[in-house]
């Protein structure tokens, strides 16, 4: 029981970090060009 009090907030923090990362990616326009992204991976700059 005691360990849950630590583990659950830690798990939630990690999840929130993931959510924030997604929202950041959305805001910075990384989902604006889904079709182009698959080609950009292969491009060597």
């Amino acid at each position: 029981m005691d360990v849950l009090v630590f583990m659950i907030p830690i798990a939630l923090c990690l999840g929130t970090a993931g959510l924030c990362a997604f929202l950041w990616a959305l805001r910075s326009g990384q989902y604006d060009d889904i079709d182009g992204a698959e080609y950009r991976v292969l491009a060597d700059d």
């Binding site: 659950i8 798990a11 929130t16 959305l26 604006d32 060009d33 182009g36 080609y39 950009r40 491009a43």
Partner: protein
């Protein structure tokens, strides 16, 4: 008939292209950073992307060049002085064509809405997964050895996640429900809002009482599933609109504006207002409505009235956007839509037609109308039933809320949008862009198809008919390359391999082109210009609906070429397939009877009418509808717009006039007519799948309500039922991708049989 107006005889060389005024397209982004967006043609692969970005990015001053492969748009930002022309030239040198985009187009609201929905979806997804993690632990614990303290702790953690997440992610539904209530309607978002809010309130109260069950997971999962439907729907609409915008940019909606100082520059239409003067050169489309100030010419009004014969115009005459200027330069003063003009009439008719149409009742409305009272009555019955049975307030309310939770329209909310998204995607691959998702349902009910002739059954531009001496044809075609006349363009298209224009060709506006080859003068143009009047008369007697171009080489016998708007290559196959599938097919045209009767005969359409005004067309369509028919109107002209709006559902080719595109429910691309069949078939299939989904949802509710009302519902059952029904509905919707049998057959038949079906019987 062709180039007959000799009054326009003023010698004028081919005017060079004007410098374009690109400043309205450029957005200043701060001190000296400027940005322009271009719609780019010709992008096919990943290499194109690198070529463009590398090529443009290497230009001096360019800070950023980024190509959006999905939208086919290139954004360029630069510092200092860089002409947009230079970017376009560089792009052209790389092998692509760019068209500047008007940044003033209002797409911000929609982009914002899409982003808002995706954010809500992300929050709901995150919350539902984390809550489910706790919920599963509680369910497992309830049947084993969980202590009440641990369970309460888990429920409170769920509440801490669920309450803010639901408050944020559910906003699109709450707002829509409130908007609906204000307008005096109960829409599908109302039961959703009620279900979510009641579930959360009940779960909090249960948690306060240390109860075994809480339904936080159900409430948030419901929002997650419903948001998937909303996001899909929004994405589809956004994509359709972006591509439609690209098409209009590719048609480069500009006009040559005559500035105060006499300089002429191409300017985007949005920068041209009433009172401005615009120059329309031969071979150009008139981009504005206005009155001719100077010059005289002949206009091809087929996009405006459906009439294929050229009409003479001189100073003081009225011109409409969409008309093609054939022979002389015109200076047009732009007017706003004035009283008593054609456009005015068209707009008034359209307004009336649209009002009459809004009464149509769609499946979603019907479902909501039946669903909401049914579910709420079931919940009320459960409440009073348990009270009468002496269960006490707590138990009665608990079971009534359970009914609302389990019947929350998860599957119902996905039933229609999921099919719409999949079907619209399938149609997009067939070359049809739908403006609205509900057009599918209206397409499904169609039993009568009405075609316009000019530009719809026929190709929008004229083409050469008959067979000619190849040597003469080649020479004439090369000469035609030097002319801007639309009829000459048809001849030039027949030029074949030799695409280099003859040197020293001189164009005489209103008459034709002449050049000297090996000491022999060759002429192409009006029959009078070439001394071919008698041959032209003979040809016109045989083909009264065609136009004639004369040709003469030196003193040899003059030749004439017949040009007319040919039927689309699969028009006969499409109309035949429609008739075979049991549709009633009609042609309603504004063109002359001779031209319409010939097309009707070639397509074996018995019911046709010619020389109809916009008012006549609307009257015919309303008569068809009054007789119980469900009418699909396919048309492109300004004169078709009211009819498009009046019909139950309508389609336009992508070459159509603006008003028509706006009035139509969908656009189809390309030179074929088969997309019309694909649209009808997809509509039928989509409606069938929607009905299946709705019946499935209804059956699910009927099975679930007794369970909930009887007090047997647990959070585990609710979660399984909700996600299970959503998955079934979604998978069923995916079937809308398949089964376009008739459209595929026509496409194939059109390919094999196009020659015998459509080879004109001329000359």
């Amino acid at each position: 008939m062709c180039c007959a107006d000799l009054a326009t005889a003023s010698t004028q060389a081919n005017p060079a292209a004007f410098a374009r005024d690109y400043s309205p397209f450029v957005v200043r982004m701060g001190e000296d950073l400027a940005r322009v967006e271009l719609a780019v043609e010709g992008i096919r692969c990943a290499t194109c992307m690198q070529t463009i970005e590398g090529g443009i990015g290497a230009m001096p001053g360019v800070a950023k060049a980024r190509l959006n492969f999905t939208d086919r748009r290139l954004a360029v930002e630069w510092r200092g002085d860089l002409a947009v022309e230079a970017i376009l030239d560089r792009l052209e040198a790389l092998g692509f064509k760019g068209h500047p985009f008007d940044p003033k187009r209002p797409d911000d609201a929609e982009t914002r809405e899409t982003k808002r929905l995706i954010r809500a979806l992300a929050v709901a997804g995150f919350a539902s997964m984390n809550i489910m993690l706790m919920a599963v632990s509680v369910w497992a614990g309830n049947v084993s050895d969980i202590t009440p303290e641990t369970r309460d702790f888990f429920h409170w953690v769920q509440a801490v996640i669920a309450l803010p997440a639901a408050a944020y992610a559910g906003r699109p539904f709450y707002e829509s429900a409130i908007r609906g209530l204000r307008a005096g309607r109960v829409n599908m978002d109302f039961p959703i809002t009620l279900g979510v809010v009641l579930t959360l309130v009940m779960s909090v109260i249960e948690t306060l009482n240390s109860a075994e069950h809480a339904y936080f997971d159900g409430a948030v999962m419901l929002l997650f599933f419903l948001l998937i439907g909303r996001v899909l729907d929004q994405t589809m609409r956004r994509r359709t609109r972006l591509l439609a915008e690209n098409i209009s940019a590719l048609r480069s909606e500009t006009a040559a504006k005559v500035f105060e100082d006499g300089v002429v520059r191409d300017a985007p239409l949005s920068a041209i207002g009433p009172g401005d003067r615009v120059l329309v050169r031969p071979g150009e489309r008139v981009a504005v409505d206005g009155i001719v100030e100077e010059g005289s010419s002949e206009l091809d009004q087929s996009l405006v009235t459906g009439e294929t014969a050229l009409a003479a115009i001189k100073a003081g005459g009225r011109v409409y956007a969409g008309a093609l200027n054939a022979s002389g330069s015109l200076t047009v003063r732009v007017t706003a839509a004035a009283e008593g003009t054609l456009l005015d009439e068209v707009e008034a008719l359209m307004g009336r037609a649209l009002e009459a149409k809004s009464a149509a009742l769609l499946l979603a409305d019907t479902a909501t109308r039946l669903y909401v009272p049914f579910v709420h009555a079931a919940a009320a019955l459960t409440l009073f039933g348990w009270l009468l049975a002496g269960a006490g307030w707590h138990g009665a309310i608990l079971n009534a809320v359970a009914v609302l939770i389990i019947t929350c329209p998860c599957a119902l909310g996905l039933a229609i949008p999921a099919v719409q998204v999949v079907a619209a995607g399938a149609l997009f691959r067939q070359g049809v862009l739908l403006n609205t998702g509900d057009a599918l349902e209206r397409l499904a009910q169609v039993d009568t198809v009405v075609f316009d002739k000019t530009g719809t059954l026929t190709l929008p531009e004229p083409s050469l008919v008959g067979s000619y001496d190849p040597a003469v044809l080649e020479q004439a075609a090369r000469l035609a390359l030097s002319s801007r006349h639309p009829l000459a363009a048809a001849l030039a298209a027949a030029a074949g391999e030799r695409r280099d224009p003859l040197a020293q060709a001189r164009e005489t506006a209103g008459l034709g082109v002449a050049a000297t080859v090996d000491g022999v003068e060759i002429r192409l143009g009006s029959p009078a210009f070439c001394g071919a009047e008698s041959a032209a008369r003979a040809a016109l007697d045989r083909h009264p609906e065609a136009s004639v171009i004369g040709f003469r080489a030196g003193d040899a016998e003059p030749a004439v070429f017949l040009v007319r708007q040919a039927l689309r290559e699969d028009a006969a196959a499409t109309v035949g397939a429609l008739r075979g599938a049991g549709y009633r097919v009609l042609i309603l045209s504004g063109d002359r009877a001779a031209a319409v009767s010939r097309a009707a005969a070639a397509l074996q359409v018995a019911e046709w009418e010619a020389e109809l005004s916009p008012k006549d067309k609307i009257a015919r369509i309303e008569a068809l509808r009054a007789a119980g028919g469900k009418v699909l109107m396919v048309g492109d002209g300004v004169n078709d717009a009211p009819a498009l709006a009046a019909a139950d559902v309508s389609l336009s080719p992508v070459t159509a006039a603006h008003v028509s595109q706006a009035a139509a429910d969908g656009l189809f691309m390309g030179r074929r007519l088969a997309p019309v069949i694909a649209a009808l078939e997809t509509g039928r299939k989509a409606r069938r799948l929607m009905l299946q989904n709705l019946w499935f949802s209804a059956a699910y509710n009927l099975a679930a309500i007794p369970l909930a009302a009887g007090g047997f519902l647990t959070p585990l059952i609710a979660a399984l039922a909700m996600s299970g029904s959503s998955v079934v509905v979604t998978v069923n919707s995916l079937r809308a991708r398949f089964g376009l049998r008739l459209a595929v057959r026509v496409r194939r038949a059109g390919r094999d049989a196009q020659a015998p079906l459509l080879r004109p019987r001329a000359a």
